[in-house]
């Protein structure tokens, strides 16, 4: 247990002053601006927005700067900020099928309507450090080709037309949308809450959990049916205006995993699916999320729950890096009273042990 202690105010103040100085670093080096962070460390900003659960590039950039690049600290700052703002309501669900796609790949079909579009990707790079970036670098203008006007339907929608994949469960009439920022989490949790939890979950945790399913701990035989990244429009039903007003657009990444098929006496076999969605360009996150979403559907799909990734209480209770870091890092705070009582108990036990040994020792000495 942590017990409040008094004193140390001066030391704390000076420590924070020192932190501000260290954060700035060598003052002969130019200070980094929020625009520079947003433009040149864009994927870090995307991650802080996703796991901070707040879409605002400028605030995420500020948080990264303030946290000296510690992304979990930055996520913590963003979460704390969002708690200070009033909520106007909830948006209409975004339509990822109408995304202005900047990247879209499928590992299941090479010829998909709208085509395979690589976009800005690390894929197929050689992962060799590029010394030219160390010197100041002016990139070539991007190549351009006239864009086709063909639509880019979701791959799962195409499979769905032939009944080869299960359809997405629809909401029951009048069913609300669960919100774990408003109500405490109870288990078993429905898929809306699971997806919300995974969407703000730690990328590293989800990566490890997703990886564990591939290695056999709750195997579900996944294919990346489609990964798409681009802009979608957001609309919000504004009560004062009396209709759904456009708010602008946001960047999202979506991953549709196509998984092992399932059938029963009454239903023809079809592929099952897992889903990932996150702010910005967050492919590793959405792929991991989709693997874990599928694993967590074990109960509803009648699979035996044996592996950690299939255990919703385990996954959902440990996915949040702000909660996790809070509990792990609180161990740093003064626990003097706790420790003193443990120390007292240990000394007593050691004394009892020594007393119990003593007669034996004397006996041995006599022999």
């Amino acid at each position: 247990m942590y017990v409040a202690v008094k004193g140390g105010e001066r030391a704390i103040e000076n420590a924070h002053r020192l932190l501000a100085h260290r954060r700035r670093g060598d003052q002969s080096v130019p200070e980094v601006t929020l625009d520079q962070i947003s433009e040149q460390l864009g994927l870090a900003v995307d991650r802080v927005m996703s796991e901070g659960s707040l879409y605002d590039r400028e605030l995420a950039s500020l948080a990264i700067k303030q946290a000296r690049g510690d992304l979990i600290e930055a996520i913590f700052l963003v979460r704390a900020f969002r708690a200070t703002m009033p909520r106007f309501g909830a948006s209409e669900p975004v339509d990822t099928g109408a995304m202005r796609v900047q990247r879209r790949v499928s590992s299941t079909f090479k010829d998909i309507p709208g085509g395979q579009i690589l976009g800005p990707t690390f894929d197929y790079t050689h992962r060799l450090l590029d010394p030219s970036l160390a010197r100041g670098f002016v990139p070539e203008a991007p190549a351009t080709t006239e864009a086709s006007t063909a639509l880019t339907p979701r791959v799962t929608d195409i499979l769905g037309r032939d009944g080869l994949i299960e359809s997405s469960p629809q909401a029951e009439d009048g069913a609300g949308v669960g919100d774990l920022t408003r109500e405490p989490l109870n288990f078993p949790a429905d898929r809306d809450l699971r997806l919300q939890n995974l969407a703000r979950g730690d990328e590293g945790f989800l990566l490890a959990m997703g990886y564990s399913t591939q290695r056999g701990y709750g195997r579900n035989h996944p294919f990346a049916g489609e990964i798409r990244f681009g802009e979608v429009e957001v609309e919000f039903v504004a009560e004062d205006a009396g209709f759904a007003v456009p708010l602008g657009s946001i960047e999202l990444t979506e991953c549709q995993m196509v998984n092992q098929f399932k059938g029963s006496a009454t239903e023809a076999p079809c592929f099952t699916r897992g889903y990932g969605l996150a702010f910005g360009q967050s492919e590793r996150k959405t792929m991991s999320m989709a693997l874990v979403d599928r694993a967590l559907r074990a109960r509803e799909l009648g699979e035996e729950v044996r592996a950690p990734a299939q255990d919703e209480e385990f996954v959902m209770s440990h996915s949040d890096n702000v909660q996790a870091t809070g509990f792990v890092e609180h161990l740093k705070l003064p626990h003097y009273v706790d420790f003193q009582s443990e120390l007292g108990l240990l000394r007593k036990l050691r004394q009892e042990f020594a007393d119990a040994q003593a007669p034996d020792a004397m006996k041995e000495a006599a022999e």
Binding site: Y55, S91, R100, A147, D157, P169, F243
Partner: protein, 151 residues
């Protein structure tokens, strides 16, 4: 009713363009405009909107995460009330969108605001999107599956 729907569609289309513009760009377009008297009905206010997705892209909705949103409302002296909503925390932009929304509804100013403010901003937006789409299109690939040799 149809007229009402037409006007609503027109307001939405204008808002969709304005939400994508910078406050400075909207203000610059309005500078050459003989604005009628107007007042703030709701001074700009920042808050959050919970963004929703759908399971599988087309299934039941779920809460994805929040976004910052700024909103405002403006009333023209002639009575039209406009609403401004935009992602982000730029209250001035929300106020300018609300002003434009009020002007769009005005019989005297609707045509002019469409011509001098909305249409040029829409064109600018379309140019940006066409450029981005052309850059994306250049990265479209064909994966060839190697044909296995006979026997």
């Amino acid at each position: 009713m149809t007229q009402h729907n037409d006007q609503q569609a027109q307001r939405k289309a204008a808002m969709a363009v304005l939400a994508q513009a910078e406050a400075g760009e909207i203000a610059a377009r309005l500078r050459n405009f003989a604005l009628p008297d107007h007042q703030d009905l709701r001074t700009p206010e920042n808050g959050l909107v919970m963004l929703r997705g759908r399971a599988g892209g087309d299934g039941a909705p779920f809460n994805l995460g929040e976004a910052t949103v700024s909103r405002a409302a403006v009333r023209l002296a002639s009575g039209e009330v406009g609403f401004g909503y935009t992602l982000g925390r730029d209250g001035e932009k929300a106020r300018l969108i609300a002003l434009c929304d009020a002007l769009v509804q005005s019989r005297d100013f609707g045509g002019a605001v469409e011509r001098d403010v909305i249409a040029p901003l829409r064109e600018q937006l379309m140019t940006r999107r066409t450029q981005a789409a052309a850059e994306t299109a250049a990265t479209k690939v064909d994966f060839y599956t190697m044909v296995r040799g006979e026997g």
